[in-house]
Symmetry: C2
Subunit: 252 residues, 2 copies
């Protein structure tokens, strides 16, 4: 009968798909300690050991550490206690999943961008990636829940479109930098970018952002933490150009 079959470590490894060194390791940890041939010390696995290994794999599948598994392995029944620890694991897994999903989205955006734009300046890419990252981090840190939730509702195409507009802006800035801020090309560049941003964000979202009161200190901090694809000089020039543009708009 197969239940009485004995296996060498090689056979056992073959059947279960678990590498020999891992079996050694589990033996060392006391998780799975098979019989031994007393003269040679070779391990002899049997049917029971298959069951034990399955328990180990099951608990690993549920996300437990080998340490925890070692203790759980000897409990004969699962109580509410276990249920609590299962819930904890569930939450941990949920967080992991969310993190992974965010990374995947970010990578997809970056891939599309690189595909469509060819070579992209690394400072620019970093600033995009970082902002994607922060889009999610902000939720927790500054309770901009409403705003960020609204943002995440925007379609991926819209986000990509905005990214591309941003890339256009950086290219234009590199080209036009040095010209007077009232130059018509410069002003057109500003106009295009701001209009694209506004149309992406929408009026009510702009309102909400304006009314969100993040402490001054935090804003300082955020600003100094936000990477920019522009040199300091370019940034200053760009700010001046934007300021000029806003004044013109107000006058109209």
């Amino acid at each position: 009968m197969y239940k009485n079959k004995k296996f060498s470590i090689g056979e056992f490894s073959e059947k279960t798909g678990i590498p020999i060194p891992t079996l050694h390791y589990y033996d060392e940890l006391g998780l799975l300690q098979p019989e031994r041939n007393p003269s040679s010390e070779h391990r002899i696995y049997n049917y029971e050991d298959i069951i034990t290994l399955q328990k180990i794999l099951s608990l690993k599948f549920l996300g437990y550490s080998l340490d925890k598994i070692a203790s759980l392995l000897h409990e004969s029944s699962f109580t509410a206690d276990l249920n609590e620890s299962l819930s904890l694991h569930l939450h941990a897994l949920e967080r992991e999943k969310v993190q992974i999903e965010q990374s995947m989205q970010a990578i997809k955006r970056v891939i599309k961008l690189v595909e469509e734009e060819g070579e992209v300046d690394s400072a620019l890419l970093f600033s995009l990636i970082y902002s994607m990252h922060m889009e999610h981090t902000w939720i927790e840190r500054y309770k901009l829940t409403e705003v960020v939730e609204e943002l995440s509702k925007k379609s991926e195409e819209d986000k990509l479109a905005l990214d591309k507009t941003y890339i256009q802006l950086t290219k234009a800035v590199k080209q036009l930098y040095g010209k007077p801020v009232e130059d018509s090309n410069v002003q057109r560049m500003i106009k295009d970018y701001l209009e694209a941003s506004f149309s992406f964000l929408g009026e009510d979202l702009m309102e909400k952002i304006a009314h969100t009161n993040v402490k001054e200190l935090d804003i300082q901090e955020l600003e100094s933490m936000t990477p920019s694809p522009f040199t300091e000089d370019e940034q200053t020039w760009l700010n001046q150009a934007i300021e000029y543009y806003m004044k013109q708009v107000e006058m109209e």
Copy 2:
């Protein structure tokens, strides 16, 4: 101007949220090596270092190892080369995500079961967890794609219902074990369980399973790998009872 501000490691850690030992570690790896006070060897971080740290965090967010980050950090622009490595990462993340989702589903099922049934025998729980695990593993190993896909379409409630029926079965077996297989209680137990299983699986799925040709050897292997909540004797008795039941049904 804030761009000229210098930070001690403590301040820098505070501002960025990265623990001091981690900053030490990044320094050691050559990822982020700030200025030093030549007399005291104390680290002095500046605005540049914030930018570098952001790059590191961005790339970590995308799933890169610190090793890779070290090399990427010095590249000034991202090419198609990077795009390829991004795609690879994307796939890796996808796999991770799927694995996490499966674990979450399994945990949810186990939690519900424990909640609704109170204390549950551990051998039984392991066999359930293992089968959930295998439900997914089989897809790859035996190309039962069709069948398993059909299975995963079943609603969570249905799965839970089947789990509960299975629990009923194990309880009944423990109670009735020893009675003659033709005993009416025993036969009712078999009937209830088989009918629940059939109604869960549906005829066409049963058909497909029957027609799926897994090699004999593999079946042996699978069987010996599948944990059972029954003792060997109980299993034998149960098989006999089922056999008897099938004969009776055939005669009708």
